[in-house]
């Protein structure tokens, strides 16, 4: 039986908070958007939810009580923005004696061989807030020196004096035995009740102290922020009498519970983008396209992710806040599975400036939501990408956010004039320069990423999402040689549609390093019964449990002695004795497939067992509940926009996107406006509105 009622998705971005409500079972959606409220992010969420519920009442007069809300799915880029912009809380780090410099020393390698002026990432905790604790475990987790609390009070006193907002603890070998970390946390809690504490053994229980410490510190750096807003979010939802389960999207594109997200928010690092990629994959699959480049540009950052055969690629060694664009190794290592995407500090809020060589640079610093771009009229004085887009005619000052927010052209012009004078070029040239430089930055990043996947960008279609994505997509595609660009419906809230489209999935794992020959299946069976129960508990509601019908086991295996593992997957229906032979055969087959050879005579080892339950992946077709009927006549306004081919302004037609009927074909250059974003086609192109409302642009 199809589900009745409705679902709500909310995404808190650096600049905007987006919301979508989906009416079940048909999939009509209503949208809302507000400026993010950094002082209390849940305030914007509450406004968005109110807006959605009002729209729901207006559009569907039938009564929809709060208990008909089946679930709230949620994601946020607050976590990643806090790290990139270094706006997390002050963290005190407690480490094993002798390891306070580990996060300065890192791995001692250069991420760029040839850069003699190499810049290295600066740790999130300064030296004076790192405290060494007398304790020691060995590599087997046995206690060599018991945990000593002397020195703790001094450390905590300093931490309090300095206004520390969170504590990170990372002891050597805590990935084997977390008891010292737990005991220290207990001691700290008794002295500083209520303080947020991140333990490396819980946040990232993996070997290698630098990477684990970096991940733990990053988690602590954002944890109070995340915990606070998740709590406030729940309050706000309760204020609307919504008590449906809250699921939060994690970086890998799956979900976790609100409680788990509040404790380990580092897994949310890429939750917004993961939603965007899920939405793009869903839209493309609707059209039968399998290989895409998702291009997501918001207020603060832009991301690109390649998906082939309908599946986004996943990475296990992720990095946050790279100091050198696109350079692997130049960021802070984060041990958490994530959709493999590249990210760059390029968004609508990115600030343009003159660099020390006298050249125009854009980003990565962002004006964020407050004060925001100069044209927001909230006190921002520095010119941003949005200011340039406004000056180029790409944005309509009276139709931004569907007219809910007026952009001030005079403020944008004033900000651009200052920069133009500084550079010694015209305001007009400066505006196009900002647009073009930020596009080239994004295209360059995408180019390397696509090449790393061994793909030719000309074979990919682009799917543009995010508030600023549709404004910039065509020019970025042009630079990459991509000829077809798709715009999902409600591109400005793409992550929300992705949250709604993503399959329900819950994962649990158990690490136990053993030779395959020595595995005790009875142990495995007992553990799996527990994992299965855990998953069922997390799935919670009967609806979710019923839909999560596909169970699978993933086993990370390697040859004994290797560091890296490969994942062997099997359908799950209990553990029986044929599984070991099956695992051996699958491991050898997979190894041979991957590496073209096996290792003669080497023993096989099992490292981690994973159990997952997932709903069947299926294409979700969303349609805008507010879309106009198709017999309405197409009347276009016109406005002057900058066309790069002619290096000048021309009068082009401006359409309200959702008034164009399905199947309509139009010719670029043109502008398609919608409340969430603006599709800018500043070149000759064929523009088609597809079934369901997505727009396809084929560049001539």
């Amino acid at each position: 039986m199809a589900m009745q009622g409705y679902r709500i998705a909310v995404d808190i971005g650096g600049t905007f908070t987006d919301g979508v409500v989906e009416l079940l079972p048909e999939g009509q959606v209503l949208l809302a958007k507000r400026l993010t409220t950094p002082d209390d992010p849940s305030r914007a969420v509450a406004e968005v939810v109110s807006d959605l519920l009002e729209q729901l009442a207006q559009n569907f007069s039938a009564l929809l009580p709060a208990e008909d809300c089946r679930e709230v799915v949620h994601g946020t880029t607050l976590v990643t923005n806090a790290i990139i912009e270094r706006k997390g809380v002050k963290v005190a780090l407690f480490v094993t004696s002798g390891t306070a410099d580990v996060i300065d020393i890192g791995r001692e390698t250069r991420y760029d061989l040839y850069d003699l002026d190499i810049e290295m990432p600066v740790p999130l905790v300064p030296r004076e807030l790192r405290f060494e604790i007398d304790e020691r475990l060995n590599a087997r987790g046995q206690v060599l020196r018991p945990l000593a609390m002397n020195g703790l009070d001094d450390g905590l006193a300093q931490a309090e004096t300095q206004g520390v907002g969170a504590i990170a603890i990372c002891f050597l070998h805590a990935y084997v035995n977390g008891s010292h970390e737990e005991a220290l946390a207990t001691a700290i809690r008794s002295r500083m009740p209520g303080v947020a504490i991140s333990l490396s053994s819980r946040v990232a229980s993996e070997v290698r102290e630098y990477e684990r410490m970096s991940t733990t510190v990053a988690n602590a750096y954002v944890q109070p922020i995340a915990a606070n807003y998740i709590a406030l979010l729940k309050e706000r939802l309760e204020a609307h009498q919504i008590s449906a389960p809250l699921r939060v999207m994690v970086s890998s594109g799956g979900f976790t519970s609100d409680q788990a997200a509040a404790e380990v928010p580092i897994v949310l690092l890429e939750s917004g983008p993961a939603g965007g990629v899920r939405s793009a994959v869903n839209t493309a699959s609707q059209l039968g396209i399998d290989d895409i480049l998702t291009f997501d540009m918001g207020g603060t950052t832009a991301k690109a992710c390649v998906s082939t055969a309908g599946a986004p690629s996943i990475t296990y060694a992720f990095e946050a806040a790279r100091v050198k664009r696109f350079k692997r190794g130049s960021g802070l290592p984060i041990l958490s599975p994530s959709i493999d995407l590249i990210e760059i500090g390029a968004g609508g809020g990115s600030i343009a400036y003159r660099n020390e060589l006298g050249l125009l640079n854009v980003g990565p610093a962002s004006a964020g939501a407050e004060p925001g771009p100069a044209c927001y009229g909230q006190g921002g004085l520095q010119p941003t990408v949005t200011d340039a887009d406004l000056m180029l005619g790409y944005l309509d000052p009276d139709a931004f956010l569907g007219g809910k927010m007026r952009l001030d052209r005079a403020s944008a012009e004033a900000a651009l004039t200052t920069l133009a004078d500084d550079l010694g070029i015209s305001v007009q040239k400066t505006a196009w320069g900002i647009h073009d430089v930020v596009n080239e930055n994004m295209a360059g990043a995408a180019r390397v990423h696509i090449a790393e996947k061994g793909l030719d960008p000309r074979r990919l279609a682009m799917v543009a999402t995010g508030g600023a994505g549709p404004v910039h997509a065509i020019e970025v595609a042009q630079k990459l040689g991509i000829r077809r660009v798709l715009f999902t419906i409600a591109a400005g809230v793409g992550s929300c549609l992705g949250f709604l489209a993503a399959p329900v999935r819950v994962d649990r794992s158990w690490s136990s390093v053993q030779l395959l020959d020595m595995v005790d299946l009875e142990d495995v069976r007992i553990v799996f019964e527990r994992l299965e129960d855990d998953i069922k508990t997390e799935l919670g509601t009967a609806d979710a449990a019923a839909t999560a019908s596909e169970w699978s086991i993933g086993i990370e295996m390697r040859y004994a002695g290797q560091g890296a593992t490969i994942l062997v997957t099997l359908p799950y229906s209990g553990i029986d004795k044929t599984i070991l032979a099956e695992l051996e055969a699958r491991f050898l087959g997979r190894y041979e497939d991957l590496y073209g050879t096996t290792v003669p005579g080497a023993a096989i080892q099992v490292v981690t067992w994973r159990l997952a339950a997932q709903s069947k992946a299926e294409t979700r077709v969303f349609s805008l509940a507010t879309a106009a009927s198709s017999d309405e006549s197409l009347e276009a306004a016109r406005r002057q926009i900058y066309l790069p081919a002619g290096d000048g302004y021309e009068n082009v037609p401006v359409y309200e996107r959702y008034q164009i009927p399905e199947g309509a074909e139009l010719a670029g250059p043109l502008i398609l406006q919608e409340a969430e974003s603006t599709i800018v086609v500043a070149r000759p192109a064929q523009v088609t509105v597809l079934e369901g409302g997505a727009v396809s642009v084929a560049l001539n």
Partner: protein, 515 residues
């Protein structure tokens, strides 16, 4: 006119690099030793059918980038194309044909397309063990250093040679790790082959044409940068600690139009009782690397990047050692060549001036614990020199690119207890820009049975000098149980022995009061 449009060339070039990076990723994932996984002590290179370099793995060791293509050419001398079949894997660790010491084993696999030899996949990596004593500079001739592997077929048309394998297994302390790493190299070759064949299938391009095009572009970019320098002779001398007496590296760089030549005449003679001699190919490698970094860092490296550069070191000097000289610790001398080159060219590029820094030191420990052999190594990097623009970086590998082995990995693999791994605060040279800090690494041996340990250290006597009035960095030190000791001899470690290794700070730049 080029047959490649700018879009295609960009894509193809990036794809060649990404193919090699993918093969490198396969190697790292399939390797058994922490030297590859953690320390990054390897490289993967794709060459054309004649052994000319086309692309390299991004995280390569700089020296391997230019020695590996030469290794392929040495393989071709021994096994001409007519004697190669699909599925062959060639092997050697000859220092003069490989990377300059026997501890790196190099393999290469010919890649065929349409029945013709079109390319080679080449991999080299530092083995966890190669027999002989622990890697030390206390050898006089190569015969003392361990197993020598001449140019052989490790795999013939897909069939591993059991004789070659048996010889290697028998001569090394940790045969499973050593052989595992060699099979990892084979995995990298297979990955590179399948990706390259897919590229050729898909694009129908001629690899020869592509090779010519990208090498010309890399060469032209480097030549243009050389031509921008004022013609003339630039000179610099670096002092190395040496043993009985210090060694001198005497470097003269001559710029003439778009050609650059380096002459090491005046450099000290080969050392006949210590293993710090450098083979010619390694001297070339660490001469070409800083020039590329200084002059065209953003252009991908390939054979064209070497063409404008000629290097001469007189035979029988420490920079052009002859068989059977011992070479195990050749990096201690070779790592100073970038210092000499950057020092020499300072007057030509005043805003790129840089004070001297220190190369890495290393620790190797081998022994038995509970009947299991262990062999671990970690690199201990040092402070880099301050530049005209900023302070020197602390604890960073240069000119090599060798990572540390995490404490947790070291302690899992060998009976060691690390007391601290810290920055050596205050070790950087004073100046308007301060030199980078070295490392202070303190550990204890916990094994029940004694172990052998070797410490390769640099900049103990001759610390990194400052530039333009900046002060020198602190010299390196080794302490055994609280006593400063000379690292040259292999140390027998017994339970409770405590070792502290302090690496040098980088030199400062400019006078302190100029700030």
């Amino acid at each position: 006119m080029s047959q490649f449009d700018p879009v295609s060339l960009e894509i193809l070039w990036n794809r060649l690099i990404s193919i090699v990076d993918e093969a490198a990723a396969a190697f790292v994932r399939t390797s058994f030793s922490s030297l590859v996984r953690e320390a990054n002590d390897y490289a993967v290179v794709l060459t054309d059918a004649a052994g000319g370099s086309l692309a390299q793995s991004s995280m390569s060791i700089p020296s391997f980038i230019s020695t590996l293509p030469k290794t392929v050419r040495h393989f071709l001398e021994r096994f001409p194309a007519s004697e190669l079949s699909p599925g062959d894997v060639l092997i050697t660790n000859d220092p003069w044909m490989g990377t300059g010491h026997i501890h790196d084993v190099s393999t290469a696999m010919p890649i065929f397309y349409g029945g013709a030899l079109v390319a080679f996949s080449a991999v080299t990596s530092h083995m966890p063990d190669i027999g002989g004593p622990v890697r030390t500079n206390d050898n006089s001739v190569i015969y003392e250093e361990g197993l020598q592997i001449p140019r052989l077929k490790f795999v013939s048309a897909g069939e591993p040679d059991p004789v070659v394998e048996a010889f290697i297994r028998t001569n090394v302390r940790v045969p499973d790790q050593t052989m595992g790493d060699l099979w990892g190299q084979v995995a990298a070759h297979k990955m590179l082959e399948s990706r390259l064949v897919a590229l050729l299938d898909e694009t129908k391009i001629s690899l020869t044409d592509l090779s010519r095009e990208i090498c010309q572009r890399s060469e032209a970019a480097l030549r243009a940068a050389i031509a921008d320098l004022a013609d003339g002779e630039y000179h610099y001398v670096v002092r190395h600690d040496g043993f009985e007496e210090p060694l001198t590296i005497d470097c003269t760089v001559t710029i003439a139009g778009d050609n650059l030549s380096v002459d090491y005449t005046g450099t000290s003679a080969e050392v006949d009782n210590k293993a710090i001699n450098v083979v010619e190919a390694y001297t070339f490698a660490y001469t070409a690397f800083p020039l590329k970094a200084l002059l065209s860092p953003d252009i991908p490296n390939n054979e064209g990047s070497f063409a404008p550069i000629s290097v001469y070191a007189p035979p029988k000097t420490v920079l052009n050692a002859q068989y059977p000289a011992a070479t195990a610790a050749r990096g201690q001398v070779g790592h100073m060549l970038p210092t000499a080159i950057l020092g020499a060219l300072g007057p030509a590029l005043p805003d790129r001036r840089v004070a001297e820094g220190s190369g890495n030191s290393s620790i190797t420990i081998v022994g038995h614990e509970e009947d299991h052999p262990f062999a671990v190594a970690t690199f201990v990097n040092a402070g880099l020199g301050a530049t005209a623009r900023r302070d020197g970086r602390s604890a960073l590998s240069f000119p090599s690119n060798l990572g540390n082995t995490p404490i947790e990995i070291l302690e899992a693999e060998a009976p060691l207890l690390v007391h601290h791994r810290r920055l050596r605060h205050g070790s950087g040279g004073a100046g308007q820009r301060r030199g980078g800090e070295g490392i202070d690494f303190d550990f204890e041996y916990l094994g029940q049975a004694p172990a052998s340990s070797a410490f390769l250290m640099t900049r103990r006597i001759e610390p990194p000098k400052g530039n333009s009035g900046g002060g020198a960095g602190a010299p390196a030190r080794l302490l055994l149980n609280g006593e400063v000791v000379d690292p040259i001899r292999i140390k027998r470690l017994v339970r409770g022995d405590r070792i502290i290794i302090e690496t040098a700070g980088g030199g400062g730049f400019g006078r302190d009061n100029d700030a």
